[in-house]
Protein backbone atom coordinates (compact mmCIF):
# COMPACT_ATOMS: atom_id res chain seq x y z
CA UNK A 1 0.00 0.00 0.00
CA UNK A 2 1.50 3.34 -0.96
CA UNK A 3 2.02 6.29 1.32
CA UNK A 4 -0.58 8.36 -0.56
CA UNK A 5 -3.31 5.79 -0.35
CA UNK A 6 -2.77 5.30 3.35
CA UNK A 7 -3.08 8.98 3.97
CA UNK A 8 -6.13 9.64 1.81
CA UNK A 9 -9.66 9.74 3.18
CA UNK A 10 -11.96 6.75 3.08
CA UNK A 11 -15.65 6.91 2.20
CA UNK A 12 -16.91 6.99 5.78
CA UNK A 13 -14.57 9.83 6.62
CA UNK A 14 -15.86 11.84 3.66
CA UNK A 15 -19.41 11.14 4.71
CA UNK A 16 -18.54 12.41 8.23
CA UNK A 17 -17.16 15.60 6.68
CA UNK A 18 -20.38 16.10 4.72
CA UNK A 19 -22.35 15.69 7.95
CA UNK A 20 -20.22 18.23 9.75
CA UNK A 21 -20.47 20.68 6.89
CA UNK A 22 -24.25 20.37 6.64
CA UNK A 23 -24.83 20.89 10.35
CA UNK A 24 -22.37 23.71 10.77
CA UNK A 25 -23.27 27.25 9.82
CA UNK A 26 -20.81 27.36 6.95
CA UNK A 27 -21.18 27.31 3.17
CA UNK A 28 -17.91 25.63 2.26
CA UNK A 29 -15.45 23.16 3.80
CA UNK A 30 -12.16 22.03 2.33
CA UNK A 31 -10.03 19.21 3.73
CA UNK A 32 -6.71 18.03 2.36
CA UNK A 33 -5.22 14.63 3.15
CA UNK A 34 -2.30 13.22 1.19
CA UNK A 35 -2.87 14.38 -2.37
CA UNK A 36 -6.61 14.07 -2.07
CA UNK A 37 -8.51 17.27 -1.54
CA UNK A 38 -12.20 17.24 -0.68
CA UNK A 39 -14.24 20.39 -1.17
CA UNK A 40 -17.79 20.41 0.19
CA UNK A 41 -20.01 23.27 -0.87
CA UNK A 42 -23.55 23.53 0.38
CA UNK A 43 -26.09 23.98 -2.39
CA UNK A 44 -28.22 27.10 -2.19
CA UNK A 45 -31.70 26.10 -1.00
CA UNK A 46 -33.28 27.24 -4.24
CA UNK A 47 -36.61 25.48 -3.65
CA UNK A 48 -37.23 27.42 -0.44
CA UNK A 49 -38.21 31.08 -0.43
CA UNK A 50 -35.56 33.60 0.56
CA UNK A 51 -35.46 34.19 4.33
CA UNK A 52 -37.92 36.83 5.44
CA UNK A 53 -36.52 40.19 6.48
CA UNK A 54 -38.02 39.92 9.94
CA UNK A 55 -37.34 36.99 12.24
CA UNK A 56 -40.00 34.28 12.05
CA UNK A 57 -42.29 33.97 15.02
CA UNK A 58 -42.20 30.17 14.86
CA UNK A 59 -39.25 28.05 15.91
CA UNK A 60 -36.69 27.23 13.22
CA UNK A 61 -37.59 24.24 11.02
CA UNK A 62 -35.79 20.96 11.70
CA UNK A 63 -32.38 20.70 10.03
CA UNK A 64 -32.40 19.77 6.35
CA UNK A 65 -31.72 16.10 5.54
CA UNK A 66 -28.06 15.30 4.81
CA UNK A 67 -27.04 16.30 1.28
CA UNK A 68 -26.45 12.75 0.00
CA UNK A 69 -30.11 11.90 0.48
CA UNK A 70 -31.35 15.16 -1.05
CA UNK A 71 -32.50 15.75 -4.63
CA UNK A 72 -29.89 17.51 -6.77
CA UNK A 73 -30.44 21.26 -6.66
CA UNK A 74 -32.92 22.46 -9.23
CA UNK A 75 -30.46 24.74 -11.00
CA UNK A 76 -28.07 21.91 -11.87
CA UNK A 77 -28.40 21.24 -15.58
CA UNK A 78 -28.54 17.63 -16.79
CA UNK A 79 -26.79 16.66 -20.01
CA UNK A 80 -28.90 14.05 -21.82
CA UNK A 81 -27.82 11.37 -24.28
CA UNK A 82 -28.90 12.59 -27.74
CA UNK A 83 -28.79 9.04 -29.13
CA UNK A 84 -28.67 5.39 -28.19
CA UNK A 85 -25.17 4.00 -27.83
CA UNK A 86 -22.22 3.13 -25.60
CA UNK A 87 -20.99 5.81 -23.21
CA UNK A 88 -17.24 6.50 -23.05
CA UNK A 89 -15.65 9.07 -20.78
CA UNK A 90 -12.33 9.22 -22.62
CA UNK A 91 -11.31 9.56 -26.29
CA UNK A 92 -9.57 6.15 -26.02
CA UNK A 93 -9.04 3.58 -23.25
CA UNK A 94 -5.45 4.72 -22.54
CA UNK A 95 -6.31 8.41 -22.27
CA UNK A 96 -7.71 10.36 -19.33
CA UNK A 97 -11.42 11.18 -19.23
CA UNK A 98 -12.64 14.30 -21.00
CA UNK A 99 -13.95 15.62 -17.68
CA UNK A 100 -13.97 14.69 -14.00
CA UNK A 101 -16.36 15.72 -11.30
CA UNK A 102 -15.32 19.14 -10.12
CA UNK A 103 -13.93 20.25 -13.52
CA UNK A 104 -15.07 23.52 -15.02
CA UNK A 105 -16.39 23.23 -18.58
CA UNK A 106 -17.15 25.76 -21.29
CA UNK A 107 -20.22 25.58 -23.52
CA UNK A 108 -19.39 23.34 -26.49
CA UNK A 109 -16.64 21.48 -24.64
CA UNK A 110 -16.69 17.71 -25.18
CA UNK A 111 -17.89 15.79 -22.13
CA UNK A 112 -17.91 12.24 -23.44
CA UNK A 113 -18.29 10.03 -26.49
CA UNK A 114 -21.30 7.93 -27.44
CA UNK A 115 -20.49 5.13 -29.82
CA UNK A 116 -23.39 4.31 -32.14
CA UNK A 117 -23.22 2.18 -35.26
CA UNK A 118 -19.40 2.09 -35.17
CA UNK A 119 -19.29 5.88 -35.07
CA UNK A 120 -17.88 7.94 -32.23
CA UNK A 121 -20.05 10.94 -31.45
CA UNK A 122 -18.55 13.61 -29.24
CA UNK A 123 -21.15 15.00 -26.87
CA UNK A 124 -20.65 18.67 -26.02
CA UNK A 125 -21.85 20.54 -22.95
CA UNK A 126 -24.60 23.00 -23.77
CA UNK A 127 -23.81 25.14 -20.73
CA UNK A 128 -20.70 26.37 -18.98
CA UNK A 129 -20.20 25.50 -15.34
CA UNK A 130 -18.80 22.88 -13.04
CA UNK A 131 -19.31 19.15 -13.57
CA UNK A 132 -20.93 18.07 -10.32
CA UNK A 133 -21.93 14.52 -11.19
CA UNK A 134 -21.01 11.88 -13.74
CA UNK A 135 -24.09 9.68 -13.77
CA UNK A 136 -23.10 6.83 -16.08
CA UNK A 137 -20.27 4.27 -15.82
CA UNK A 138 -17.68 4.17 -18.57
CA UNK A 139 -18.66 1.60 -21.21
CA UNK A 140 -22.33 1.39 -20.20
CA UNK A 141 -25.15 1.40 -22.79
CA UNK A 142 -27.23 4.57 -22.70
CA UNK A 143 -30.74 5.12 -23.99
CA UNK A 144 -32.08 8.20 -25.71
CA UNK A 145 -32.56 11.07 -23.27
CA UNK A 146 -30.72 9.38 -20.38
CA UNK A 147 -29.04 11.95 -18.07
CA UNK A 148 -25.24 11.61 -18.36
CA UNK A 149 -23.84 14.53 -16.32
CA UNK A 150 -25.07 17.22 -14.00
CA UNK A 151 -23.54 20.65 -14.52
CA UNK A 152 -23.76 23.46 -11.99
CA UNK A 153 -23.83 26.65 -14.08
CA UNK A 154 -23.04 28.74 -11.00
CA UNK A 155 -20.17 26.47 -9.97
Amino acid sequence: MSQDERRSLNFDEIRELVRIASEADITELEVEAGHLRVAIRKAPRSLNPAPAATAPAVPAPPPAPPPEAAEPPAHWVPVHAPMVGTFYRAPSPDQPPFVQEGDRVEPGQTLCIIEAMKMFNEIPSEVGGRVVRVLVENGAPVEYGQPLFLIDPHG
Binding site: M117, P141, E143, Y144, G145
Partner: protein, 453 residues
Protein backbone atom coordinates in the same frame (compact mmCIF):
# COMPACT_ATOMS: atom_id res chain seq x y z
CA UNK B 1 -34.64 -20.49 -32.17
CA UNK B 2 -33.92 -16.89 -31.20
CA UNK B 3 -32.99 -16.04 -27.61
CA UNK B 4 -33.88 -12.37 -27.64
CA UNK B 5 -36.11 -10.38 -29.99
CA UNK B 6 -36.39 -6.61 -30.24
CA UNK B 7 -39.88 -5.34 -31.05
CA UNK B 8 -39.49 -2.24 -33.23
CA UNK B 9 -43.01 -0.97 -32.72
CA UNK B 10 -45.47 0.31 -30.14
CA UNK B 11 -49.12 -0.07 -29.18
CA UNK B 12 -51.17 -3.21 -29.49
CA UNK B 13 -48.94 -4.89 -32.09
CA UNK B 14 -45.87 -4.55 -29.86
CA UNK B 15 -47.87 -6.20 -27.08
CA UNK B 16 -49.00 -8.89 -29.53
CA UNK B 17 -45.42 -9.70 -30.58
CA UNK B 18 -44.19 -9.78 -26.96
CA UNK B 19 -46.95 -12.30 -26.15
CA UNK B 20 -45.91 -14.53 -29.05
CA UNK B 21 -42.25 -14.38 -27.99
CA UNK B 22 -43.05 -15.17 -24.38
CA UNK B 23 -44.98 -18.30 -25.38
CA UNK B 24 -41.99 -19.38 -27.45
CA UNK B 25 -39.62 -18.78 -24.50
CA UNK B 26 -37.88 -15.84 -26.20
CA UNK B 27 -36.75 -12.80 -24.20
CA UNK B 28 -38.01 -9.45 -25.48
CA UNK B 29 -36.70 -5.90 -25.78
CA UNK B 30 -39.21 -3.07 -26.13
CA UNK B 31 -38.12 0.22 -27.63
CA UNK B 32 -40.10 3.36 -26.95
CA UNK B 33 -40.26 7.08 -27.57
CA UNK B 34 -40.42 9.62 -24.76
CA UNK B 35 -44.20 9.78 -25.34
CA UNK B 36 -44.54 6.05 -24.60
CA UNK B 37 -42.81 5.70 -21.23
CA UNK B 38 -46.07 4.39 -19.79
CA UNK B 39 -46.72 2.10 -22.76
CA UNK B 40 -47.93 -1.40 -21.99
CA UNK B 41 -45.24 -2.85 -24.27
CA UNK B 42 -42.60 -1.15 -22.10
CA UNK B 43 -44.05 -2.75 -18.99
CA UNK B 44 -44.46 -6.18 -20.54
CA UNK B 45 -41.08 -6.65 -22.21
CA UNK B 46 -38.11 -8.12 -20.34
CA UNK B 47 -36.05 -5.03 -21.17
CA UNK B 48 -37.00 -1.60 -22.49
CA UNK B 49 -34.91 1.12 -24.07
CA UNK B 50 -35.84 4.70 -24.96
CA UNK B 51 -34.91 5.45 -28.58
CA UNK B 52 -36.00 9.03 -29.17
CA UNK B 53 -38.39 11.93 -28.77
CA UNK B 54 -42.12 11.60 -29.52
CA UNK B 55 -42.17 12.19 -33.31
CA UNK B 56 -41.98 8.78 -35.03
CA UNK B 57 -39.38 10.04 -37.50
CA UNK B 58 -36.97 10.48 -34.61
CA UNK B 59 -37.88 7.36 -32.62
CA UNK B 60 -39.80 4.45 -34.18
CA UNK B 61 -38.29 5.28 -37.58
CA UNK B 62 -34.83 6.04 -36.17
CA UNK B 63 -32.84 3.18 -37.69
CA UNK B 64 -29.48 4.07 -36.03
CA UNK B 65 -31.00 4.16 -32.54
CA UNK B 66 -32.98 0.95 -33.06
CA UNK B 67 -29.97 -0.91 -34.48
CA UNK B 68 -27.72 0.41 -31.69
CA UNK B 69 -30.19 -0.84 -29.10
CA UNK B 70 -30.29 -4.24 -30.82
CA UNK B 71 -26.50 -4.48 -30.76
CA UNK B 72 -26.07 -3.14 -27.21
CA UNK B 73 -28.62 -5.53 -25.78
CA UNK B 74 -27.51 -8.47 -27.88
CA UNK B 75 -30.73 -9.37 -29.70
CA UNK B 76 -30.77 -11.98 -32.50
CA UNK B 77 -33.83 -10.72 -34.34
CA UNK B 78 -36.09 -7.71 -34.82
CA UNK B 79 -39.86 -7.92 -35.31
CA UNK B 80 -41.08 -4.76 -37.05
CA UNK B 81 -44.83 -5.21 -36.45
CA UNK B 82 -46.88 -3.24 -39.02
CA UNK B 83 -46.35 0.34 -40.15
CA UNK B 84 -43.16 2.21 -39.19
CA UNK B 85 -40.22 0.16 -40.57
CA UNK B 86 -42.17 -3.00 -41.45
CA UNK B 87 -42.03 -2.43 -45.23
CA UNK B 88 -38.79 -0.48 -45.52
CA UNK B 89 -36.45 -2.62 -47.66
CA UNK B 90 -33.51 -0.48 -46.51
CA UNK B 91 -34.16 -1.39 -42.87
CA UNK B 92 -34.42 -5.10 -43.69
CA UNK B 93 -31.14 -4.84 -45.55
CA UNK B 94 -29.37 -2.97 -42.73
CA UNK B 95 -30.52 -5.69 -40.32
CA UNK B 96 -29.07 -8.33 -42.63
CA UNK B 97 -25.75 -6.47 -42.81
CA UNK B 98 -25.68 -6.26 -39.01
CA UNK B 99 -26.35 -10.03 -38.76
CA UNK B 100 -29.63 -9.45 -36.97
CA UNK B 101 -32.57 -11.38 -38.42
CA UNK B 102 -35.42 -9.22 -39.73
CA UNK B 103 -38.63 -11.11 -38.99
CA UNK B 104 -40.26 -10.69 -42.38
CA UNK B 105 -39.51 -11.29 -46.04
CA UNK B 106 -36.25 -10.48 -47.83
CA UNK B 107 -35.44 -6.84 -48.64
CA UNK B 108 -35.74 -7.82 -52.33
CA UNK B 109 -39.31 -9.08 -51.89
CA UNK B 110 -40.30 -5.99 -49.89
CA UNK B 111 -38.83 -3.77 -52.57
CA UNK B 112 -40.47 -5.61 -55.47
CA UNK B 113 -43.95 -5.54 -53.91
CA UNK B 114 -43.52 -1.96 -52.66
CA UNK B 115 -43.32 -0.64 -56.20
CA UNK B 116 -46.86 -0.73 -57.66
CA UNK B 117 -45.83 -0.95 -61.29
CA UNK B 118 -43.27 -3.69 -60.59
CA UNK B 119 -45.73 -5.64 -58.42
CA UNK B 120 -48.32 -5.46 -61.20
CA UNK B 121 -45.80 -6.72 -63.70
CA UNK B 122 -44.76 -9.63 -61.45
CA UNK B 123 -48.39 -10.56 -60.83
CA UNK B 124 -49.07 -10.66 -64.58
CA UNK B 125 -45.98 -12.80 -65.08
CA UNK B 126 -47.32 -15.21 -62.44
CA UNK B 127 -50.62 -15.41 -64.33
CA UNK B 128 -52.51 -13.43 -61.70
CA UNK B 129 -55.07 -11.05 -63.20
CA UNK B 130 -54.57 -7.32 -62.67
CA UNK B 131 -57.06 -4.52 -63.26
CA UNK B 132 -57.14 -4.30 -67.09
CA UNK B 133 -55.79 -1.09 -68.54
CA UNK B 134 -53.40 0.48 -71.00
CA UNK B 135 -49.90 -1.00 -70.74
CA UNK B 136 -48.48 2.51 -70.28
CA UNK B 137 -49.53 6.12 -70.88
CA UNK B 138 -51.91 6.76 -73.81
CA UNK B 139 -50.60 9.39 -76.18
CA UNK B 140 -53.68 10.31 -78.23
CA UNK B 141 -57.37 9.72 -78.76
CA UNK B 142 -56.86 6.94 -81.28
CA UNK B 143 -54.68 4.98 -78.90
CA UNK B 144 -57.16 5.54 -76.08
CA UNK B 145 -60.06 4.34 -78.20
CA UNK B 146 -58.19 1.15 -79.08
CA UNK B 147 -57.50 0.39 -75.41
CA UNK B 148 -61.12 1.19 -74.47
CA UNK B 149 -62.30 -1.25 -77.13
CA UNK B 150 -60.25 -3.98 -75.49
CA UNK B 151 -61.01 -3.37 -71.78
CA UNK B 152 -64.59 -2.15 -72.17
CA UNK B 153 -66.63 0.56 -70.43
CA UNK B 154 -66.94 2.02 -67.87
CA UNK B 155 -63.31 2.95 -67.57
CA UNK B 156 -61.14 5.40 -65.72
CA UNK B 157 -58.82 7.97 -67.21
CA UNK B 158 -56.09 8.44 -64.59
CA UNK B 159 -53.14 10.79 -64.34
CA UNK B 160 -49.81 8.96 -64.13
CA UNK B 161 -48.64 11.48 -61.55
CA UNK B 162 -52.06 11.65 -59.93
CA UNK B 163 -53.50 11.11 -56.52
CA UNK B 164 -56.47 12.09 -54.42
CA UNK B 165 -58.89 11.83 -57.34
CA UNK B 166 -57.38 14.73 -59.28
CA UNK B 167 -56.83 14.14 -62.97
CA UNK B 168 -59.28 11.22 -62.79
CA UNK B 169 -62.40 10.78 -64.98
CA UNK B 170 -64.98 8.02 -65.22
CA UNK B 171 -65.99 7.30 -68.83
CA UNK B 172 -69.19 5.36 -69.57
CA UNK B 173 -69.12 5.18 -73.39
CA UNK B 174 -67.15 6.01 -76.54
CA UNK B 175 -68.87 9.39 -76.98
CA UNK B 176 -67.48 10.71 -73.71
CA UNK B 177 -63.96 9.34 -74.16
CA UNK B 178 -62.32 12.19 -76.12
CA UNK B 179 -63.63 14.92 -73.86
CA UNK B 180 -62.70 13.04 -70.66
CA UNK B 181 -59.22 12.44 -72.03
CA UNK B 182 -58.71 16.15 -72.72
CA UNK B 183 -60.08 17.25 -69.35
CA UNK B 184 -57.99 14.73 -67.45
CA UNK B 185 -54.87 15.77 -69.36
CA UNK B 186 -55.51 19.47 -68.71
CA UNK B 187 -56.28 18.87 -65.05
CA UNK B 188 -53.23 16.70 -64.60
CA UNK B 189 -51.03 19.23 -66.38
CA UNK B 190 -52.27 21.97 -64.06
CA UNK B 191 -52.07 19.93 -60.89
CA UNK B 192 -48.93 17.87 -61.40
CA UNK B 193 -47.09 19.54 -64.28
CA UNK B 194 -47.54 16.43 -66.44
CA UNK B 195 -50.38 15.66 -68.80
CA UNK B 196 -49.55 11.96 -68.93
CA UNK B 197 -52.66 9.79 -68.47
CA UNK B 198 -53.46 6.08 -68.68
CA UNK B 199 -56.64 4.02 -68.79
CA UNK B 200 -57.94 1.46 -66.34
CA UNK B 201 -61.13 -0.54 -66.14
CA UNK B 202 -63.56 1.05 -63.70
CA UNK B 203 -64.90 -1.45 -61.19
CA UNK B 204 -68.34 -0.63 -59.85
CA UNK B 205 -68.84 -1.37 -56.17
CA UNK B 206 -65.84 -3.64 -55.90
CA UNK B 207 -65.14 -5.69 -52.81
CA UNK B 208 -61.77 -5.81 -51.16
CA UNK B 209 -60.79 -9.41 -50.47
CA UNK B 210 -57.31 -10.45 -49.40
CA UNK B 211 -55.57 -13.79 -48.96
CA UNK B 212 -53.15 -14.59 -46.15
CA UNK B 213 -50.11 -16.63 -47.12
CA UNK B 214 -47.25 -18.15 -45.16
CA UNK B 215 -44.04 -19.25 -46.85
CA UNK B 216 -40.92 -20.82 -45.36
CA UNK B 217 -37.39 -20.47 -46.64
CA UNK B 218 -37.56 -23.91 -48.30
CA UNK B 219 -40.21 -22.98 -50.82
CA UNK B 220 -43.27 -24.28 -48.97
CA UNK B 221 -46.20 -21.91 -49.40
CA UNK B 222 -49.64 -22.25 -47.84
CA UNK B 223 -52.64 -19.93 -47.76
CA UNK B 224 -54.70 -19.42 -44.63
CA UNK B 225 -57.85 -18.40 -46.41
CA UNK B 226 -59.23 -15.00 -47.25
CA UNK B 227 -60.43 -11.95 -45.36
CA UNK B 228 -63.18 -9.59 -46.44
CA UNK B 229 -62.01 -6.01 -45.81
CA UNK B 230 -64.53 -3.91 -47.74
CA UNK B 231 -65.82 -2.00 -44.75
CA UNK B 232 -63.61 1.07 -44.94
CA UNK B 233 -63.77 4.78 -44.40
CA UNK B 234 -61.46 7.00 -46.43
CA UNK B 235 -59.45 3.94 -47.48
CA UNK B 236 -58.92 2.92 -43.84
CA UNK B 237 -60.22 -0.53 -42.96
CA UNK B 238 -62.71 -0.52 -40.10
CA UNK B 239 -64.10 -4.04 -39.92
CA UNK B 240 -62.76 -7.27 -41.37
CA UNK B 241 -64.10 -10.79 -41.44
CA UNK B 242 -63.06 -14.30 -42.35
CA UNK B 243 -64.20 -16.01 -44.44
CA UNK B 244 -65.53 -13.51 -47.03
CA UNK B 245 -69.34 -13.80 -46.93
CA UNK B 246 -71.31 -14.80 -50.00
CA UNK B 247 -68.58 -15.59 -52.51
CA UNK B 248 -68.75 -18.73 -54.61
CA UNK B 249 -66.52 -21.71 -53.78
CA UNK B 250 -65.01 -21.32 -57.22
CA UNK B 251 -63.95 -17.68 -56.66
CA UNK B 252 -62.64 -18.57 -53.24
CA UNK B 253 -60.46 -21.35 -54.64
CA UNK B 254 -59.24 -19.12 -57.47
CA UNK B 255 -58.24 -16.34 -55.06
CA UNK B 256 -56.34 -18.77 -52.85
CA UNK B 257 -54.56 -20.33 -55.83
CA UNK B 258 -53.62 -16.93 -57.29
CA UNK B 259 -52.14 -15.74 -53.99
CA UNK B 260 -50.05 -18.88 -53.53
CA UNK B 261 -48.88 -18.70 -57.16
CA UNK B 262 -47.71 -15.10 -56.77
CA UNK B 263 -45.86 -15.87 -53.51
CA UNK B 264 -44.19 -18.90 -55.10
CA UNK B 265 -43.21 -17.06 -58.26
CA UNK B 266 -41.32 -14.34 -56.39
CA UNK B 267 -39.69 -16.69 -53.87
CA UNK B 268 -41.55 -15.02 -51.05
CA UNK B 269 -40.84 -15.96 -47.43
CA UNK B 270 -42.66 -15.28 -44.14
CA UNK B 271 -46.22 -13.94 -43.75
CA UNK B 272 -47.76 -11.88 -46.52
CA UNK B 273 -51.12 -10.74 -47.79
CA UNK B 274 -52.23 -10.58 -51.41
CA UNK B 275 -54.98 -8.01 -51.93
CA UNK B 276 -57.61 -8.28 -54.65
CA UNK B 277 -60.57 -6.29 -55.89
CA UNK B 278 -63.59 -8.43 -56.76
CA UNK B 279 -66.37 -7.09 -58.98
CA UNK B 280 -70.06 -8.02 -59.05
CA UNK B 281 -69.46 -10.67 -61.69
CA UNK B 282 -66.83 -12.24 -59.42
CA UNK B 283 -63.94 -11.19 -61.63
CA UNK B 284 -60.93 -10.57 -59.43
CA UNK B 285 -57.89 -8.40 -59.89
CA UNK B 286 -54.62 -8.19 -57.98
CA UNK B 287 -54.02 -4.76 -56.45
CA UNK B 288 -51.04 -5.17 -54.12
CA UNK B 289 -49.16 -7.44 -51.77
CA UNK B 290 -48.49 -6.43 -48.17
CA UNK B 291 -45.19 -7.82 -46.98
CA UNK B 292 -45.89 -7.67 -43.23
CA UNK B 293 -48.16 -8.98 -40.52
CA UNK B 294 -51.44 -7.09 -40.88
CA UNK B 295 -53.65 -5.38 -38.32
CA UNK B 296 -56.49 -7.78 -39.14
CA UNK B 297 -54.47 -11.02 -38.77
CA UNK B 298 -56.50 -12.11 -35.67
CA UNK B 299 -59.58 -12.99 -37.75
CA UNK B 300 -57.48 -15.53 -39.63
CA UNK B 301 -56.10 -16.81 -36.32
CA UNK B 302 -59.64 -17.17 -35.02
CA UNK B 303 -60.79 -19.40 -37.90
CA UNK B 304 -57.57 -21.43 -38.31
CA UNK B 305 -56.45 -21.76 -34.68
CA UNK B 306 -52.91 -20.74 -35.69
CA UNK B 307 -50.69 -18.07 -34.15
CA UNK B 308 -49.46 -16.09 -37.15
CA UNK B 309 -46.86 -14.09 -35.23
CA UNK B 310 -45.31 -17.26 -33.83
CA UNK B 311 -45.28 -18.72 -37.33
CA UNK B 312 -43.49 -15.59 -38.56
CA UNK B 313 -40.83 -16.02 -35.87
CA UNK B 314 -40.40 -19.73 -36.61
CA UNK B 315 -40.02 -19.08 -40.33
CA UNK B 316 -37.50 -16.29 -39.72
CA UNK B 317 -35.51 -18.66 -37.49
CA UNK B 318 -35.21 -20.98 -40.49
CA UNK B 319 -37.77 -23.57 -39.41
CA UNK B 320 -39.83 -25.51 -41.90
CA UNK B 321 -43.60 -24.91 -41.93
CA UNK B 322 -45.03 -27.46 -39.52
CA UNK B 323 -48.13 -28.05 -41.62
CA UNK B 324 -49.10 -28.41 -45.24
CA UNK B 325 -52.11 -26.94 -47.03
CA UNK B 326 -54.24 -29.99 -46.21
CA UNK B 327 -53.56 -29.58 -42.49
CA UNK B 328 -55.04 -26.08 -42.46
CA UNK B 329 -58.62 -26.34 -41.21
CA UNK B 330 -61.13 -23.53 -41.25
CA UNK B 331 -63.70 -23.37 -38.49
CA UNK B 332 -66.56 -20.91 -38.07
CA UNK B 333 -66.57 -17.19 -38.76
CA UNK B 334 -64.67 -14.28 -37.21
CA UNK B 335 -65.13 -10.51 -37.28
CA UNK B 336 -62.74 -7.82 -36.15
CA UNK B 337 -63.75 -4.26 -35.24
CA UNK B 338 -60.97 -1.69 -35.06
CA UNK B 339 -61.89 0.69 -32.28
CA UNK B 340 -60.21 4.05 -32.79
CA UNK B 341 -59.95 7.09 -30.54
CA UNK B 342 -61.91 9.27 -32.93
CA UNK B 343 -64.98 11.38 -32.43
CA UNK B 344 -67.89 10.29 -34.64
CA UNK B 345 -69.73 13.51 -33.71
CA UNK B 346 -66.97 15.68 -35.16
CA UNK B 347 -66.11 14.09 -38.50
CA UNK B 348 -63.99 11.41 -36.82
CA UNK B 349 -61.31 13.80 -35.70
CA UNK B 350 -58.69 12.20 -33.46
CA UNK B 351 -59.56 12.12 -29.77
CA UNK B 352 -56.33 11.58 -27.85
CA UNK B 353 -56.14 12.05 -24.09
CA UNK B 354 -56.40 10.30 -20.79
CA UNK B 355 -58.50 7.14 -20.61
CA UNK B 356 -60.18 7.38 -17.25
CA UNK B 357 -62.19 4.17 -17.44
CA UNK B 358 -61.51 1.11 -19.54
CA UNK B 359 -63.55 -2.09 -19.31
CA UNK B 360 -62.87 -4.32 -22.32
CA UNK B 361 -65.38 -7.03 -23.24
CA UNK B 362 -64.84 -10.73 -22.64
CA UNK B 363 -66.83 -13.94 -22.51
CA UNK B 364 -67.14 -16.78 -25.02
CA UNK B 365 -65.62 -16.22 -28.46
CA UNK B 366 -64.31 -12.72 -27.77
CA UNK B 367 -60.68 -11.60 -28.00
CA UNK B 368 -59.40 -8.08 -27.40
CA UNK B 369 -55.95 -6.96 -28.54
CA UNK B 370 -55.10 -3.64 -26.92
CA UNK B 371 -52.37 -1.65 -25.22
CA UNK B 372 -54.80 0.61 -23.40
CA UNK B 373 -55.60 0.47 -19.68
CA UNK B 374 -57.47 2.71 -17.26
CA UNK B 375 -55.25 5.70 -16.49
CA UNK B 376 -53.35 5.45 -19.79
CA UNK B 377 -52.97 8.60 -21.85
CA UNK B 378 -53.33 8.12 -25.62
CA UNK B 379 -50.55 10.27 -27.07
CA UNK B 380 -51.38 12.48 -30.07
CA UNK B 381 -48.32 11.42 -32.06
CA UNK B 382 -49.32 8.02 -33.42
CA UNK B 383 -52.32 6.19 -34.88
CA UNK B 384 -55.63 6.28 -33.07
CA UNK B 385 -56.15 2.52 -32.66
CA UNK B 386 -57.43 1.79 -29.15
CA UNK B 387 -58.34 -1.87 -29.40
CA UNK B 388 -59.15 -4.65 -31.83
CA UNK B 389 -62.21 -6.59 -30.78
CA UNK B 390 -62.45 -10.01 -32.43
CA UNK B 391 -65.59 -12.12 -32.16
CA UNK B 392 -65.76 -15.74 -33.27
CA UNK B 393 -68.91 -17.77 -33.90
CA UNK B 394 -69.82 -21.11 -35.45
CA UNK B 395 -71.34 -19.09 -38.28
CA UNK B 396 -71.50 -15.43 -39.34
CA UNK B 397 -74.77 -14.77 -37.50
CA UNK B 398 -73.28 -15.97 -34.23
CA UNK B 399 -70.13 -13.92 -34.80
CA UNK B 400 -72.23 -10.79 -35.41
CA UNK B 401 -74.35 -11.45 -32.30
CA UNK B 402 -71.23 -11.88 -30.20
CA UNK B 403 -69.64 -8.74 -31.59
CA UNK B 404 -72.77 -6.71 -30.86
CA UNK B 405 -72.80 -8.07 -27.33
CA UNK B 406 -69.06 -7.34 -26.91
CA UNK B 407 -69.34 -3.75 -28.15
CA UNK B 408 -72.22 -3.15 -25.78
CA UNK B 409 -69.99 -4.31 -22.90
CA UNK B 410 -67.00 -2.26 -23.98
CA UNK B 411 -66.64 0.82 -21.80
CA UNK B 412 -64.13 3.55 -22.66
CA UNK B 413 -64.34 6.71 -20.57
CA UNK B 414 -62.30 9.85 -21.21
CA UNK B 415 -61.84 9.72 -24.99
CA UNK B 416 -64.37 9.39 -27.83
CA UNK B 417 -64.28 6.15 -29.81
CA UNK B 418 -65.70 4.70 -33.01
CA UNK B 419 -67.76 2.09 -31.13
CA UNK B 420 -71.04 3.80 -32.21
CA UNK B 421 -70.01 3.55 -35.88
CA UNK B 422 -69.32 -0.17 -35.52
CA UNK B 423 -72.65 -0.75 -33.85
CA UNK B 424 -74.39 1.05 -36.72
CA UNK B 425 -72.58 -1.15 -39.27
CA UNK B 426 -73.41 -4.36 -37.40
CA UNK B 427 -77.11 -3.62 -37.27
CA UNK B 428 -77.29 -2.55 -40.92
CA UNK B 429 -79.52 -4.91 -42.95
CA UNK B 430 -77.24 -4.89 -45.99
CA UNK B 431 -74.23 -5.77 -43.84
CA UNK B 432 -76.17 -8.57 -42.19
CA UNK B 433 -76.91 -10.01 -45.61
CA UNK B 434 -73.23 -9.83 -46.49
CA UNK B 435 -73.77 -7.15 -49.13
CA UNK B 436 -70.56 -5.20 -48.71
CA UNK B 437 -68.33 -3.17 -51.01
CA UNK B 438 -65.60 -0.57 -50.52
CA UNK B 439 -67.98 2.41 -50.44
CA UNK B 440 -70.40 0.67 -48.06
CA UNK B 441 -69.95 3.12 -45.17
CA UNK B 442 -70.41 6.08 -47.46
CA UNK B 443 -73.55 4.61 -49.06
CA UNK B 444 -75.23 2.68 -46.29
CA UNK B 445 -74.34 4.28 -42.96
CA UNK B 446 -75.89 7.54 -41.84
CA UNK B 447 -72.82 9.18 -40.34
CA UNK B 448 -74.86 12.26 -39.44
CA UNK B 449 -77.06 10.15 -37.20
CA UNK B 450 -73.94 9.19 -35.25
CA UNK B 451 -73.08 12.83 -34.84
CA UNK B 452 -76.33 13.52 -33.02
CA UNK B 453 -75.97 13.18 -29.28
Amino acid sequence: MFKKVLVANRGEIAVRVIRACRELGIRTVAVYSEADRDGLHVRMADEAFCIGPPPAAESYLNIPNILSTAELLGVDAIHPGYGFLAEDPRFAEICRDAHITFIGPSPEAIEAMGNKARARELAQKAGVPVVPGSPGPVRNEREAAAVAERIGYPLLVKASAGGGGRGMRVVHNRDDLDRALQTAQRESEAAFGSGEVYLEKYLEEPRHVEVQVLADARGNVVHLGERECSIQRRHQKLLEEAPAPGISPRLRANLHRAAVRLAQSIGYTNAGTVEFLVDRQENFYFIEMNTRIQVEHPVTEAVTGLDLVQEQIRIAAGERLRFGQRDVEFRGHAIECRINAEDPAHDFRPSPGRVVGFVPPGGPGVRVDTHVYAGYTIPPYYDSLVAKVVAWGRDRAEAIARMERALREFEVVGVRTTIPLHRAILENAFFRRGEVYTNFVQRRVDLRALARP
